[in-house]
Amino acid sequence: MAVHPTTIAVDDPHAGAHGSHDHGGDHPPHLKHYFISSEQQFDAAKLGMWLFLVTEILLFGGMFVAYGIYRSMYPELFVEASTQLNTVMGGINTLVLLASSLTVAWAIRCAQTDNQRGLFWNLVATVCLAGVFMVIKYFEYTHKFHLGIFPGSHYTFFAEGTPFTLPGVEAAAEHGGGHHIPEGELPLTNQRAGLFFSIYYVMTGIHGIHVLIGMIAISTLAVKAWKGKYSSAWYTPVENVGLYWHVVDIIWIFLFPLMYLIS
């Protein structure tokens, strides 16, 4: 049997000053000492990000399951309540988010081709598009609050003579009764309307929080890109935040038809 070498020389961990990890030589500055190559470090970071995205999908997935179960239980509720959502605003928001996905993808392309100006301006454009999304969302929300369309027990936008059999809903409706209904608005006649809007507010609300987090992350990237921190040699944060942003987009791609386009 051949002799097995059981150790091979790669590098001496104690070659540098002990306790500090800035090894000299051919190690690029961003390469952590416990990785062997930039490629390994990039792959590891990316796989880690994908696994995190898996947890994000299952987090939203729980809410999609609740949505699916209740839609199968009360189909007529979903058809009626969906008419309260503004399809035009929702559609514009979909296009806005898709455009922001494009700018992020383009930003990564710029980083890969060492186009510093392009990277910066694409990131700025992404933050602006996300801002437009949030402003439109704000108008949608405030309009509903104005009508008394709140989640769960706070929902009061019922038509006259809506039949109540659920004790919790009836108490809430009486408590918030006498609400003024503006011209041209159609109040709902289904006593479970609050349930639909609970799901709507929780799903779009948690999605909105993710958009806000994404805006903060992308703004940070933009500042660092302005300082020229990223290049084709190292742009892992841009890549990973980009992946996160695309998942936020994908979730909205499903939310839009499921919430706004029910018939």
């Binding site: 049997m1 002799v3 097995h4 070498p5 059981t6 150790t7 091979i8 020389a9 790669v10 001496d12 961990p13 104690h14 070659a15 002990h18 306790g19 000492h33 416990y34 990785f35 062997i36 190559s37 490629e39 390994q40 792959d43 590891a44 796989l47 880690g48 696994l51 995190f52 898996v54 947890t55 994000e56 299952l58 987090l59 939203f60 997935g61 729980g62 809410m63 399951v65 609740a66 179960i69 209740y70 009360y74 989640p151 769960g152 027990s153 706070h154 659920l166 004790p167 919790g168 809903v169 809430a172 006593q191 479970r192 609050g194 349930l195 609970s198 799901i199 507010y201 929780v202 948690i206």
Partner: protein, 612 residues
Amino acid sequence: MSTVATAPARTEPVQRAYPPGHEPVHNYLHEPGPGPDVHGFQRFWEIFKSWATTVDHKRIGVMYLFTISIFFAVAGIAALGVRAELLAPGSQFLTADQYNKLFTFHGVVMVFLFIIPSIPASLGNFILPIQLGAKDVAFPKLNLMSYYLFLTGASIALYAIFSGGIDTGWTFYTPYSDTTNTAVLPMTMAVFVAGFATILTGINFIVTIHKMRAPGLTWNRLPLFIWALYAVSIVQILATPVIGITMVLLALERFIGIGIFDPALGGDPVLFQHFFWFYSHPAVYIMILPAFGVISELMGTFSRQKVFGYRAIALSSVAIAMLGFMVWGHHMFVSGQSPLSSIVFSVITFLIGVPSGIKILNWVATMYKGSVWLATPMLFALAFLFLFTIGGLTGIMVGAIGVDIHLHDTYFVVAHFHYVMMGGTVFAMVGALFYWWPKMFGRMMSETWGRISAVVMFFGFNMTFFTQFILGSQGMPRRYFTYLPQYQDLHVVSTIGSWFLALGLLMVLGNMIWSLFRGKPAPGNPWGAATLEWTHTTSPPDHHNFHRTPLVTHGPYDYDVLFSGDGAGGDGAGGVRIAGQPAPIPDPEVGGPQEMEKSVDQGTSQPDSALD
């Protein structure tokens, strides 16, 4: 990806101050830390700072071990209190309300703060990168963050428990949890935050296993402990987000009344149970799968034989992880779910028995015609085999719908899951501690007292919980403060058993503390194991784990290659080397503490004695 040290030919020999095998060891327990000239409070402060801000996976593992041990002790004392109260019907020294809070405290702390992080976060964190031949996990800072998130979650949970307590049980079932006045809101937040810690550990492990294996360490050569941790991490990543969103929905329900689970507002409370158990049943596998990994290691090492059916054991871990997601409804047979789903869930529950049985049969086959060395870790592994088999088979019994409707919420179920959780996970964890303690702290624990404690724990455990099978089948309901007089004799037996169990655990604790100060310095490979943490590094390991990245040329249980004259012979380049010296080869035929101590005396231990 060509730069992962593919061949020695690529690199010129590096100029070193020390010849190979004679490098100074930077003991991770002391370095980084203050120099010898720092004294007094300054010294204490610098040691504390170097531990609190460490990103070294070994130190984080030790910190986790220390923290969860405290939770285990506290929750264990609560269990002793519960057992003492049940010595006789009626009130002994607790009121009914205090009793309810005490067993809720025991359950919540044991489940969320001890068992779920137990083996993966402490031993897994310590051992996994070394077994892979890596210098650290893939994301060391996330690893530290995970520890602090766990501490934060634990603090919130303790705040919830002590600020009035919580009376929903650990399951938080709606609609009661919507309406009770106890501290449900902080508890949901605690579970949410602790869940983040679990997710970060899971991501870290999977990425490390995929991307940071040493050259030559193929999937077929991964130690089975790694395979088990891989399966566990998959479960953690897929299941934990769902408990996160469930807790958010429950908190919003209490906070603003969204009513998704509230029947008064048109919601469905059974849907909450689906959400809860979609996480919490896989969480049972988060608790037991790492124990399976430990047992595989122990069976191989102490039978001095290649683990039988390596691939079957590895893939059955993954199979259990996957099937575990499709059986949660067996907790809900009496909840009013549809009979169709009860039948489907029951059938798939039986299927889980297949991969579990594969494991047990393979472990037994590993011992067959091996040279079984009955050292302390092996005694715990054998106890595990016995206890887990009982726990698993009774699990099949309560997985049958008709039987479950009779036994639901009786002591039978209590006994069943204690046989799995305590008899399975805790026995495996204590065995693993005896096994890896020399590696972690560089000191041997006492073999004699270790064996005695194993026997006492085994005896006490069965006395405590086997009686509860009988009590349950006679109809004693769980979570009851008092009981009919005809149950008293068995309750007394069970309580006395719990004292023996506690005595055994105290012996283990005393053994650990004794070993830290008086234990013999451990050689690099006291058990003659063949995985990288034993063959390629010192006890305790260097700050950077290895001086040179190991090159793996054999499987994790190829004892014949490692310890044959052929492998260890030649010019000394092959075979097992510890700090440059050929490793002592324990002879399993006459193996035992005497032989082991002899090899220690021969001066094969590392020059820096640990913990001086």
